[in-house]
Structure formats: C-alpha cells, structure tokens
Subunit: 474 residues, 2 copies
C-alpha cells in the first residue's frame, strides 16, 4: 500500500531539514503532511562533528564545514546569533596574516612581494574570462599569466606563483590542473569565521521543530516517478520497497548521487527522465573531495601565536604525486594547517585541509597520514617535532551516500557542455512537482552550509506559494 | 581673417597630443590640417616632472603621475616597453607590504587583523551599492559597516577602520567625508608600477611626430561656436583674438575648466550651449586635488628597506583639520610617503601624497610643509630626524588652467543629478563635430595617464572614421 503525504523530502542534511522545518513552522501543514527520507542511519548529511571519544584531548572537531564563509551575508550565522544559539565565544576569526612554508623552509612572502603578485593573478583571471570564453583550467590561466607577464616578474616570483595559486585547491577540493579557471572568479562577501561550536547544534535546532515520526532513516531512494494524466502526483520508492506518494518532492541528495546511473546500486531511476537542462547541469558539474586530517599532540611544537600555516607544494608533475605503491609523495599538494591550539588550551592539535585526490587516499589510509604530513609539518616546527597521539580523518569519499565533499566545476575538453558559463547557473531547475535543494543548487558560495540552508528555505517557500492556489489531486 | 583647418585640438596634454599624433601618423592628414591650441606657455598639461635644479640631490621627480596603474591593461606601459623607450631599469614595483603608523607609533596591522577587516569593508561597499542606490559618502558607508557589523569587530579594530579607510583619499584626492562611496567600487587591473623615468619622455615622444608649427602656445580658448545651416563647421576663438575654423574639434581641457561659467576669465563660451546630458555630467562630476610634497635630506633616517610608509590620520572632526590661522593640524589627513631613496642612492628623499584640502594649503604655503609633516614623519624615524635640505611641492591648485589634479565623484545631497550612477559614464558625449578627450572622459581608471592617452586615440579614430565618408563643407 502506498502512503500519501503532501511533501516528501529526500535527504536529511541541512537543506532537507531546513526545508522540512520551514514547511512545518508555517503552520499550514500538519505533522503527517511531510516525510523526510534519509538513506543513512543518521541525519545531518555532510555536517558532522567528530565524536568526543575520537579526541584524546577532549576536543570536538568539525569534520564537515569548519567556517562560516561570507560572514557579511551568511543567513545561518545571522539567525543563530539572533536567536542566541551562537555566542561570541563560539566563533573565532582565524585569519591573521599567517606564515607560508615550502620544502625549503619559511617563504619570505613579503620580501618577494608575492601577495601583490597573487592579487594581480586574480585580476588576470577576471580579465582573461572577460575576453576569452574558452574554459581552461586554473593552472592553465596561471601559466598564461606567467607567460604573458614574464617581463614583470622576478625569477623567484615565477618559481612560486603556480605553487602558491594551488592554495585554491583547499577551497575547491580539486587540483588546480583539473579545476575550471572560472572557479577563481567567485567573489566573497565577508571574512570567514571559524566555527568553534561545530555544526551539530544547527541540525539539532532544526530537529526540534520536526516530529521524529516524520523522519525515516535507512531509506535510500531508488525511484522518483511522476504520474501522468489528470494527476501530477509523484511516487518515491525506496530500496526497502517503501512507496510514498506526494504532491511535491524536494530532492536534496548530493550531486554525486544525482550523477550515478539509474542502474547503479545507489542511483535513482527517474520516470520520466529528468529534463535535458537538468541532466546537462548534472553532467557538467562535478563533485570534489575536500578532506580533513586532524593530528593531536601532547605539546604544541609550532608557533602558538599563528592561526594558520600554509604549506606550498613542490613543483611536481601530477604523474609523480603518488609513488608506485599508491602512497602520496610529501609536498605534492598544498596544505593548510589550522592551529586549533589557539582555541583549546589542551595539548596541541592541527586541523589540516586536503584536496582530492590526496583526500581519497588519506581517508582510505588514515594510518598513512602522518607519514605524508610529517616532512611537511617539520617545516613549521619551532621545537622538536612530536609524533601525534591521535589521528582523526574525515571519511567523505568512503561513504557511498556522499562520495566526496561538494560540487566543483572541473575543466572539460572544449567539446564539453560546460563551455558556456550560463549552463552552470545552479540546479534551481525543478518542475512544478519535483524540486531540488542542496549546496549544488546555488550559484553563489555553493558548497557552503548557509547556501544549502538557504536552498531549503527557497524550496519550502516555493511549495508554500504553490499550495496557496493548489487543488489537491487525489 | 579666420584660419581654416580640418581638426582643432584644444589642449596639449597627453590626450590632446596623442590625438594629434594619431591623426598625423595615419598619413591622411597633412601637417597644415591640424592645430593644437594650448593655453599655457608649455605643453604636457598635468604631466610634469620636477626640474633637476629643484633637487639638491639631482633627482628628477614626477610631480604629476608617479605610477603606471592597472599594469595588466596599461596601453602606455605596453607601447613604451615594446618600442624600447622604457627599459627594465626605468620601472620599479614599490608595493612591498609596508608599515603603517599613527600618532601613537607603528600600528600592529597584522595582530589587529586589520587587513582582513579592510578587505571586508570593500566587500561591504559592493554589497551596499548592490542593494542601496542612494549615494552616500565613502565615510558614511564605512560608518554603516561599523554599525551593522559591530558585534564582529574588536574595540581596537573599530578605532582604526575609519582612519585606515581614509587611505583612499590618496587615490581620490578628496576627503572620505566628501568622496562618493561608489568611488571605492572601482576595480583595478594589475599592480601599480612606479615610474622612475618620469613622464616627460612620453610627451617628448609624441612631440616628435607633431610639426612644431601645429602647436600654438599661450592660446587659451574662450569660445567654441558651431555654425548652423548647411555647414556644420566649428569656430574656435582664443583669448588673444585668434579664430580658427575646422571640421572637427577635440576639447581636452581639464574638467575644472569645463566647469567654469562662460563669464569666468578662464571659462569657455559654447554656442550653442552644450547638450544637457553633457552639461549634467560636467555638473555632477567634480575635480580633486591630489598633491605631492617632496622632502630631501642629507641622510636616510627611516628604514631604508621599506618602499612606502602609510601614516593614518587621527580621528579629528573636519572642522578641526585646520587651525584658526588656516594652517593644517598634523595627523588631520592620511599620508603615503614613498621612500625614493630606494631608487636613488643619494641622500634621502620622501615623496608624500596629499589629498585636498591639504593640497590646496601646502601648494600655497610650501614653506609650511615641514611644519605639518614633521610630527608625522617622526613616527617612521629609526635615527634622529633631520630637517630637509629642500622641499619641492606640486602646484596644481595654483595653476588657473588646471585647478587641481583630476576628476572625482563627490557625494552630493540626495537631490543631486549624480544620484544615478549611470549618469557618470564618462564624457564620451561629443556630437558629430565637437568631441571630448582627457582623463575625465573615461569610466575606468579616470585620472590615469593611460586613460587620457587612450581617450586621445579614441577621438582620433572617431574622426578618422568620420572622415572616410566625409564631404567637406567649405
């Protein structure tokens, strides 16, 4: 027998829960009108804080999002502060001008005027894409800058520009050789604020408004079928055989799941097929893997006054990033080490960001993390380097319902559909019954918690608006 | 008797000379077809390098433009390098991260995370003008940022933001209280390169292509009369009674002259009156006064390793910027001191930028310059402060044919015509006979040498294009 509700939400991450909470809070829908189907045995999606027993220092770490980005326009930050759920002591600006290292030691960024050059490289990206429409990779644009601007650059600057621009891999989660150059054009609206509190409280806050009975765990969705004829209702089928019918469905599964073929064990069958514009977007945009490695130590053996340490990669060809045994060679990828000891005065801990494909390897081989990072972290040492007392890694790439971190635009050969930037305007492409939400459905600051949150509000409001002049089809 | 030519160019600054050079170089106009009328007894307009006898250290200083701005897209820089007239030793990047001082001494910019805050303030300007169309002053936008963002700012940051944002006065030449906030939105295309060689060589290069007989000095233009009827020719009359008739006229006088009333001794009578759109632009845009004060010393008593020293003003209400006797109070305005001793290893010299109204005072009272700056420069001293052996100042505000430095958009009360930014799209507003060129006629990087230069090319090409299908009216 098919259960019937007004709205099905597929996915209990922040966008799905916010959509559910918005729908319920308006007072027009009852507690039996909404069902949230979650594939995993827990809610929260890609928001995940480490369990306290994983830390020998008793520190909770955000394994998913760590910062409030775009703090001038961040709805989550604004609302959580207004409601008093976030307090002054829960946030921390960790953006002091930090030191940069290479395999040769600390880099004299100021003496090399490297910051001025890097600012200019960003300006060059804008000029480049103002005149050239061909999509090339981040790294190719940087090489183009160096080539066309060679006269104005010192030998030393030329040596560091490409390596320093790989810093962006720690935003995008993919190598600069692979990332579409247009990713650099994204503008930001305010500083990043480190979220000491983690994000679990946000999920818990949303859950307070949603009846427990509305959320069905362990229900991976396998099919979305839109009825034809006089009724436009949609039937959602799960792996376990559950079938629920609804007037509207909000699909918030990660882009990595949408990209799977229907016959994949974790794929969704769409009946009828998704419109070509929607499918083109899903094909054109990719899924990155920004990961985290957290080391805990008995003591702080680096400069405790610094917020962050940036370690630049060597100039290593991508075919040499990994050894024959599959292990990564140190200094193959940029690393940003956040000095968590500034936040918690207990032993020492560093939270390190990693881009794909390093993330994939380290998440599968957490015991190899110290082998990879030790030679790099030795550069920041001011006292004797200690071995970690514990290592915690994210595991996004191992989770079949997630498969990475967030959406990214990868460089494709010229015959790709993604050639025209207008094709990448987000997945706000639902029809009048099937809607999409999640970080991949927004244009600005995709990949951010507040964007996913906002997309949940957007789709809930779309449905509330549609319900106003809605005649139910039974 | 009225002389007759094809093109009259009013003003022998860089835009006028470049227009003349472009017209002559095309080979379609003879040497008698063009007349350049210059009001002063010399060419070059606002490009002016100090005379060598003004310097006790034998150093030539650029009293007008000092940098090649927007170096990724600077036509003058590109052409002069290509032709070999500018060599590697003629340019210098003076943009090392420099120290900042206040009346209390050196400011710990990094420790205060002030650079991050100031980056955010700029992002706030963009957000502000994306949503609010009302034109308010730079300083008001900054105050709005501090107010709306107060929770996120430390007490110390709040103390320095307004003062640090007054740095922009050294770009705009006017106080932040007066500058329209939209001036901050201007984007840059590449680093600034200090021009060691000065700009006289550029004027000299253009003069090589223009017959000496084509340039008439000491001929301030008093009237521009466009004939009606079957002929559209225009007659330009000068103060000395000269009348020249032409098919086209390119007016390159500074905006400050265009703003004068017809009955002003230095004003121009337009017959018929300028079109209302042109006149509205002239009324809406103002004229700033960025000035220079150069001190020479026997020795370098500051840190010779720094390129520049930024000295922030105190928080002084504008009514207290000047003492009762009219002299400026130290620390009333921001100052940027360029360490010229990095370029010339002879004694010590500092080139200091000043905004209006300080510029006006110091240009009229150069003997007071050291009194004003001494308490400020004491802050950068690492050895005993010496008195200067010579002081050189610009004198733009004293020159009746210039009256300042370059165009600027000032904040006007809400009933001003400048409310709509679209009104400020430059003075590319000529008709089919009377054309305009000069720094004030470009939207991007107005006030820059290369913009004036480009505007000369633009108008010359416009005329060459018009001449192609032109039947002379005799």
């Amino acid at each position: 027998m098919t259960k019937s509700v007004k709205v099905i939400i597929v996915g209990a991450g922040v966008s799905g829960l916010k959509a559910a909470e918005t729908l319920i809070s308006c007072g027009k829908l009852g507690k039996d009108d909404i069902v949230v189907l979650e594939a995993q045995d827990k809610v929260g999606g890609r928001i995940q804080d480490s369990k306290i027993d994983q830390s020998k220092l008793g520190i909770p770490y955000a394994l998913g999002a760590l910062w409030y980005h775009d703090s001038l326009a961040n709805s989550v930050l604004k609302e959580m502060l207004e409601t008093g759920l976030l307090k002054e002591e829960d946030i921390y600006y960790d953006d002091k001008d930090g030191p940069t290292y290479t395999s040769e030691g600390q880099l004299d960024v100021s003496g090399l005027r490297l910051n001025r050059v890097l600012e200019e490289v960003i300006q060059f990206f804008h000029l480049y894409f103002n005149t050239e429409r061909q999509n090339i990779s981040c790294d190719e644009v940087v090489k183009e800058y160096i080539k066309s601007h060679s006269f104005f650059l010192t030998t030393e600057q030329k040596q560091y520009i490409r390596r320093a621009m790989r810093y962006y891999e720690l935003w995008y989660g993919v190598p600069a050789e692979t990332a579409d150059g247009r990713m650099v054009l994204e503008t930001h609206q305010g500083r990043n604020i480190l979220n000491k509190k983690g994000y679990t409280f946000l999920i818990d806050t949303l859950l307070e408004k949603i009846p427990e009975s509305s959320i069905l765990l362990n229900q991976p969705v396998k099919s979305v079928t839109q009825r034809g004829g006089s009724t436009k209702r949609v039937v959602v089928g799960t792996k376990s055989g559950l079938e629920i019918e609804a007037d509207f469905v909000v699909v918030t599964v990660p882009l990595s799941i949408l990209k799977l073929k229907a016959d994949d064990e974790f794929g969704i069958t769409w009946n009828p097929s998704l419109p070509s514009k929607t499918q083109n977007f899903i094909n054109a945009v990719d899924f990155a893997a920004l990961g985290k490695v957290i080391f805990e130590f008995n003591n702080v053996w680096w400069n405790q006054d610094e917020d962050q340490f940036l370690i630049l990669p060597d100039e290593i060809e991508s075919k040499h990033w990994f050894n024959a045994d599959g292990s990564p060679r140190p200094f193959s990828f940029p690393a940003l080490a956040v000095n968590y000891s500034r936040l918690y005065n207990r032993g020492g801990s560093l939270v390190i960001l990693t881009p794909a494909p390093l993330t994939d390897y380290l998440e599968s081989h957490p015991d190899q993390a110290w082998t990879y990072f030790k030679p790099m972290l030795e550069k920041i040492a001011v006292n004797s380097v200690e071995d970690p007392i514990s290592t915690i890694t994210s595991s996004w790439t191992l989770n079949p319902y997630i498969r990475g971190s967030y959406s990214a635009v990868l460089f494709k050969p010229t015959n790709s559909e993604s050639k025209n930037p207008d094709d990448l305007e987000g997945l706000e492409l639902g029809n009048d019954v099937i809607r999409f939400a999640g970080e991949h459905t927004v244009t600005e600051c995709s990949g951010c918690v507040h964007s996913a949150y906002d997309s949940g509000v957007r789709e809930a409001n779309w449905i509330l608006n549609a319900l106003q002049d809605f005649t139910p089809n039974l």
